[in-house]
Structure formats: structure tokens, C-alpha cells
């Protein structure tokens, strides 16, 4: 497993995030995504229909995943590549590090990959004495900062341009200290210059994949910087690491999913670069790696097939759910404490690291449903979170005060006459106590509420008792 999850301390993480002024400033940027997605969806009349077919493609693939995985493997081998299956994170790390060592690699470049984060690949590569260089600008920045991504498509969204300037000045000591880095283009230019040398020196390039196409054996990446292309074309070997649910049957299917991906993610009609790679360089190809490997990671996914959480495997990692999530917008990605933040992380994290560690996340949702509303593959995220709560409840893992409170409440709620009596009593008592001000600034057992807001006092007798007094019990 990768870096230790801080998910069990979610509430403390939330507190830290909410009191971090710098982070709160940076997070305002995350709120721009929603409007862009809405505009992109608006521009494409068939967008909703495309979402339906995106869901259908993924569902079909998941129902026949074994067949498509085999077909994909066959195609990769036919084109001269190698496929390695990794059951868990450790196996995947071993395979990749083994491949790098076999190449005698001193340095590797990396395209953006959440699977790499999930398996903690950089640490493993570096432990083997090999330099790992992230080439996506956001990933490069957080690598310099020794951080993890706080968003699945915008990993450095929690970082401001001023932070980046400081990081660059610290890291790029060979450059003149008096250089101007006040504008974003200057930061971009500097990163490009530094990375150029890394691209040329790399012995292997590691990328993730947005899709793996069974029909052709191609892996597909979408980027806005073109760094992925240089990562996979220039070095001697290209290693793709991807999880098994990235498979789609045909090129046409991939094209359909691409149409919803960028629109959902950033509101672009298409990402700037969509790159297909199929096997190593062939005779006559002007460029390309001489070795091509695909590491297919399971890490708990096949166990989700056929179960309550299978729908989650449709996820195409667009990030729309977090872009529209009030919780994510408030605290950012690091508070979630592991690799995947936002609603998709709240469902996936307990699946991948266990409910004992990840169980806080599916509870920390208002069920506002905006994630499901925008998810391009229509994953019922709130329903999945509720499934986790049901599992916790069934295993007695929910906190005792909550169980007790709910139990007492359920006892009354299942007995209408008793309920009327008890609520009538409570409403009157609270009304009398709160009558003068109309509300309470503090109340016993309601500290989580009254610490931050006032609590209205009831109006007096309950509706049901007033109604009965007026109309009798029958009506």
C-alpha cells in the first residue's frame, strides 16, 4: 500500500483545512470547473444521450471484463508488447521496479497517473536508486513539494502561483536568482526548460492510461501539456500502468467516452492531446520506444465486480464529482487522507483500503446528489455511500452515541401514539425555554449544531396535537 492513509483522522484533517488560510484562498479556483462543465454540456445537444451510452459501454465491458482483458492482452502481445498482471500494489511496484532495473535505468520520466499514486510508485523507484521525474506540471510541482495530488485531474489545485514561484526558486538553483517568475507563463516556461533535459535523459517513460482498447491493444492518454507524449516516445521503454477497469472494447467506444471525459472534467470539448500508443516502435517508425510494457493492476477491483460497488468501476476519473462537491470545495483533496478525494474517493477508499480505515468518508456527505447529477457515467455515488453506511451499521461499526440516539428515536417513531406524546412534551418544553429569544445559542446534546449556529425554538404545541384539537382524531 502507498503512503499511510490519514483518513481515520478525517475530522482533524477537515479542521486543519478549514483553518488553513492559504489553502482556502487556493481552493476558490476549484469552483470554476462547475460553470465550465455546464457550458460544455449546454453546447452539445446530445450530451445527455452520450452519458447514457458512456454508462452502457462501461457496464457492458464490466460484464465481460475477463474476455476483454484477454483480447487486449493478445493484441498487445501481437504488436510486440508485454502485459504483466499485478494483483496488488506491492506486486505492481515490484514489476515496474524490476523492469526499470532490467533496463539499467538511471532515471525515468512519468506522465500523470493516479495508479502510480495508488501504489506509491515513486517511492519504490527512488528506493531502487533510480530518479523518478514527474512531467505533468501539476505533478512536478507537488513532487517538488513532497506532497500528494489533491485532485485527480488537477493535482496541484491547492497550490497558488506564488507557492510555485517559491518552490521553483528553491529547486532550480542553477538558474539566475534575479529571474522574473511573476507570471504563470514564466513558471510554465521554466518548468518546460528544466523538464526538457529530463525527457532526453530518461531511460524509461511511465504513463497511466485513460483507456485501454481491447480491439487494438492501444493505450490512450489525454493531456493538456503534451508531456505524456514526450514521456512515452523518447525513452527506450514505455511502461503503461493502469487498473483493469480501464479496458474498453473498441476504438469507437473509446471515442464515445472521450467525448464526455473532457467536457465533464474541464469543460473543454476535447483535451489538447489525445495520444494512442500501440506496442513498441516498428521497423520504419520514425520514433518510439523499443520496449513496451503494460502493468495491469487489480488491487481490489475484481472483488468489486458483481457486488454493491460494481457501478464504481465505471468511473473514468474525470473529477466532475469533486468539482461539484460542497465538501470537497470546502476542504480540498488532502483532507480525505488517501489517494482519491471527493465523492468518488468516498466510495472507492473504503473499497481499496477497507471500511475500518476509510469509513469516515462515505459518512461525511450531505447526500446533496450533485455528484451523481454530473457524473458522465451516471454512477449513483450517494447510493454507494449509503451502502457503506449500511455495512458499517450492520457490523456495529457506527459510533455508539449515534446508534443509541437513533435507536431511541426509532423506538418512538415506530409507536405513533407514544411519539405524539413524547414530541408534544418536548416541543412544549423547548418552546417555553426558547420563547423569549425564539432560538437557542446552545443546547444540550446539540453541540455539533449550536457551536456554529443558533437553533430555532419550536413554536409550541405540535402540528398533530393542534390538528387533533381542531378536527378530532379521525381526520
Amino acid at each position: 500500500m502507498t503512503a499511510v492513509a490519514t483518513t481515520p483522522r478525517f475530522k482533524a484533517n477537515v479542521h486543519e483545512a478549514l483553518t488553513d488560510v492559504r489553502l482556502q484562498g487556493a481552493m476558490t479556483f476549484a469552483r470554476n470547473f462547475a460553470g465550465r462543465r455546464a457550458a460544455a454540456a449546454e453546447r452539445l445537444p446530445e450530451f445527455e444521450a452520450l452519458r447514457d451510452s458512456a454508462r452502457a459501454i462501461k457496464d457492458h465491458t464490466l460484464a465481460h471484463l475477463d474476455l476483454y482483458l484477454e483480447a487486449y492482452e493478445r493484441k498487445v502481445v501481437e504488436s510486440g508488447g508485454h502485459v504483466h498482471f499485478a494483483e496488488d500494489a506491492e506486486a505492481a511496484r515490484k514489476i515496474v521496479v524490476g523492469l526499470c532495473k532490467g533496463l539499467g535505468a538511471k532515471s525515468v520520466t512519468k506522465g500523470k497517473s493516479m495508479i502510480s499514486e495508488e501504489i506509491g510508485l515513486n517511492a519504490a523507484i527512488e528506493a531502487a536508486g533510480i530518479e523518478a521525474v514527474e512531467t505533468d506540471l501539476g505533478e512536478y510541482i507537488i513532487q517538488l513539494r513532497h506532497e500528494t495530488p489533491s485532485h485527480i485531474i488537477a493535482p496541484a489545485i491547492h497550490v497558488t502561483a506564488r507557492d510555485v514561484e517559491q518552490d521553483f526558486r528553491k529547486a532550480h538553483r542553477e538558474l539566475p536568482p534575479e529571474r522574473d517568475l511573476s507570471r504563470p507563463e514564466q513558471l510554465l516556461g521554466e518548468a518546460r526548460g528544466v523538464l526538457r533535459a529530463k525527457f532526453l535523459a530518461a531511460d524509461a517513460g511511465i504513463t497511466g492510461a485513460n483507456f485501454l482498447i481491447a480491439e487494438t491493444g492501444a493505450s490512450v492518454i489525454v493531456t493538456n501539456e503534451g508531456n505524456g507524449d514526450l514521456t512515452q516516445i523518447l525513452p527506450r521503454a514505455h511502461i503503461v500502468i493502469a487498473s483493469i477497469e480501464k479496458i474498453v472494447p473498441t476504438l469507437e467506444d473509446a471515442a464515445q467516452l472521450l467525448r464526455v471525459l473532457a467536457r465533464s472534467a474541464t469543460g473543454q470539448d476535447a483535451s489538447v492531446y489525445t495520444t494512442f500508443s500501440t506496442g513498441p516502435r516498428r521497423a520504419g517508425d520514425p520514433d518510439g520506444p523499443s520496449e513496451y510494457h503494460v502493468v495491469l493492476l487489480d488491487n481490489g477491483r475484481s472483488a468489486m465486480l458483481g457486488g454493491e460497488f460494481e457501478d464504481m468501476l465505471r468511473c473514468i476519473r474525470c473529477g466532475a464529482c469533486m468539482n461539484h462537491c460542497p465538501v470537497y470545495q470546502a476542504v480540498g483533496g488532502h483532507a480525505y487522507g488517501w489517494v482519491y478525494p471527493g465523492p468518488m474517493g468516498a466510495v472507492l477508499t473504503p473499497s481499496l483500503i477497507g471500511v475500518a480505515e476509510g469509513g469516515q468518508l462515505p459518512n461525511a456527505s450531505t447526500f446533496c446528489g450533485r455528484c451523481e447529477e454530473v457524473c458522465p457515467v451516471r454512477i449513483p455515488l450517494p447510493k454507494m455511500m449509503r451502502h457503506w453506511r449500511e455495512r458499517e451499521f450492520a457490523r456495529g461499526l457506527s459510533p455508539a452515541p449515534q446508534r443509541f440516539g437513533l435507536g431511541a428515536w426509532a423506538f418512538f417513531a415506530a409507536r405513533p401514539a407514544l411519539y405524539r406524546f413524547a414530541t408534544g412534551l418536548a416541543a412544549r418544553a423547548l418552546h417555553l425555554a426558547g420563547r423569549r429569544k425564539g432560538r437557542f445559542a446552545s443546547a444540550p446534546l446539540a453541540g455539533g449544531w449550536t457551536r456554529y449556529r443558533d437553533l430555532a425554538a419550536p413554536q409550541g404545541a405540535t402540528f398533530q396535537s393542534r390538528w387533533r384539537a381542531k378536527n378530532g382524531a379521525v381526520k
Binding site: 465538501v327 450531505t366 437513533l406 426509532a410 409507536r415 405524539r420 423569549r436 456554529y452 402540528f463
Partner: protein, 266 residues
């Protein structure tokens, strides 16, 4: 009772059961009476069967068995009603969208839940979409912002209906919030369990409301309203919060949510 407070009503169903919701029952009966008035003015016969809670707190806490028990209770209680009307989007979502999901393994009960769901409606959309109410003849002087509760909006498709009726209220001018579709951070038990997080979300909502320069914020869910009112009041804002039914029924003359009764003094 005014006979013509609601005009333009279409064909009228007979017997409407009011599912008043626990929050309205206990905290703010006025909303229940406003709902009754709106329904009666539109020609309905309103009944209030003995009832408790829709089971949502249990359902959202993972306690399916309790939720199913309460669902069964509610379905039975409203058996002889032509329609069930609920002045809340989130309880409405529970009754309409989630009851049928609770009885997956019991075809007979599932069918009952489906029938129950299909006769159940959120209050304002029932008035407009089922009864064909197009306007109300009441007055409310002031600038009003309408907050869309998440369940109303996303589970029940309630968005234009309350705005349409509010537009017919004399003296009322409606302003839109920049982030009308963003959650207020209530989320039932979430607000107490994750108080700090909930506070961060409702603080943004309160800022948005203040920015809109409305004197009153309305919504169709008492849960959101208690949350929003509590935050506005804690922050010292003078913006008042009310259930939309109070304004539509012309019953907004009493104290707003969390405000003292007249004569009770501050």
C-alpha cells in the same frame, strides 16, 4: 377561509393526506397549516393520519431495517388517501424515490411502495403540476431569495414551480442566488456529526444570501431553513427565513424561523 386565494386550479382530487414531516410537526406547525390552507383553497379535502417520521435518518445512517419498518407504517397510514402531499423535498425524496428501494426482496410490499410513491408529491409541485394552480392571490412585501433544497431539485425536479407561484405574490420581488443549486450543508445528522464541515458549507450559503440583498430567504425544506436561519442569526444578519408555503398561503405574518413571538420580548 378565503374561497379564492388560489385561482386556476384544474380537476380536483378528493382526499389528500398531509405527511407533515417530523420537523414541521415539532418545530414549525405553521408550515403544516399553510400547506392545509393551500390544499383546501385548491379544492382538496385534507386529512392528517396519525404519523411519525418517514425514516430518512435511519435510512441515511445505514439502518435499513428501521427505515423499512417506518416506511411500512407510513404506507399503511395513508392507504385510503388519493394523494399524499409533503411540504419537504427531502422527506418527499424518501417517500417517492427511496421507499420502493427498501423492499427489493418483497414483491408485494415493493408494489405497494411503488403505488404509494406514485401518489405522493412535494407540496408546491403538487399544487402546480397536479392541481394546475397557476397563481396565488396573496401579498408579501419584500425581496425574497429562494433556496433550492437538494432533494427537491435533484430527486423531484422542483425548480420552476415555486418560482412561478412566488412570481404571482403581490409585493414580492424574487432575486436569484449565485449558487442557488449548491447544498446548504444541512444533510440531516451530518450537520451535527460533521458540525465544522457543515458550518463551512452553510457559511458560504449565508454569504451568498447576504450578497443577493434579500430580506427573506425561502425554501421548501425546514431542515435547510433551520440550518440557514441558524447561521444567519448567529452571524447577526437580519435576513429572515421562512418556508415557501407560509408566503404562498399568506401566513407569513407570524415570527420568522428562530424569531421571538410578538410580545415575548427580546
Amino acid at each position: 377561509m378565503t374561497m379564492n386565494a388560489v385561482e386556476g386550479a384544474g380537476p380536483r382530487p378528493r382526499r389528500v393526506g398531509l405527511f407533515v414531516t417530523c420537523l414541521v410537526d415539532i418545530m414549525r406547525p405553521t408550515v403544516g397549516f399553510a400547506a392545509v390552507k393551500l390544499l383546501e383553497d385548491a379544492g382538496c379535502t385534507v386529512v392528517v393520519p396519525a404519523q411519525t417520521c418517514c425514516g430518512q435518518p435511519a435510512y441515511n445512517s445505514g439502518d435499513r431495517a428501521t427505515a423499512a419498518r417506518l416506511a411500512r407504517q407510513a404506507i399503511t397510514a395513508f392507504e385510503d388517501c388519493d394523494h399524499v402531499v409533503v411540504p419537504s423535498g427531502s422527506c418527499g425524496g424518501m417517500l417517492i424515490r427511496h421507499y420502493p428501494e427498501l423492499f427489493a426482496g418483497e414483491p408485494e410490499m415493493a408494489a405497494k411502495a411503488e403505488r404509494f410513491a406514485s401518489k405522493t408529491h412535494e407540496l408546491v409541485s403538487f399544487l402546480t403540476d397536479v392541481l394546475g394552480v397557476e397563481r396565488v392571490t396573496v401579498r408579501f412585501d419584500g425581496t425574497v431569495a429562494y433556496h433550492d433544497s437538494c432533494s427537491s431539485l435533484r430527486e423531484l425536479g422542483v425548480k420552476a414551480q415555486p418560482r412561478r407561484l412566488l412570481a404571482s405574490v403581490e409585493g414580492l420581488s424574487l432575486v436569484e442566488l449565485d449558487e442557488a443549486e449548491t447544498c446548504c450543508g444541512f444533510g440531516g445528522l451530518f450537520a451535527a456529526k460533521y458540525g465544522e464541515l457543515s458550518n463551512a458549507i452553510v457559511s458560504r450559503k449565508a454569504d451568498d444570501i447576504r450578497k443577493a440583498a434579500a430580506g427573506t430567504v425561502l425554501a421548501g425544506d425546514l431542515g435547510c431553513l433551520l440550518n440557514i436561519a441558524g447561521k444567519l442569526q448567529r452571524a447577526g444578519s437580519a435576513v429572515e427565513a421562512r418556508h415557501v408555503a407560509e408566503v404562498l398561503a399568506g401566513m407569513a405574518d407570524g415570527p420568522a424561523i428562530g424569531e421571538p413571538q410578538k410580545g415575548a420580548g427580546r
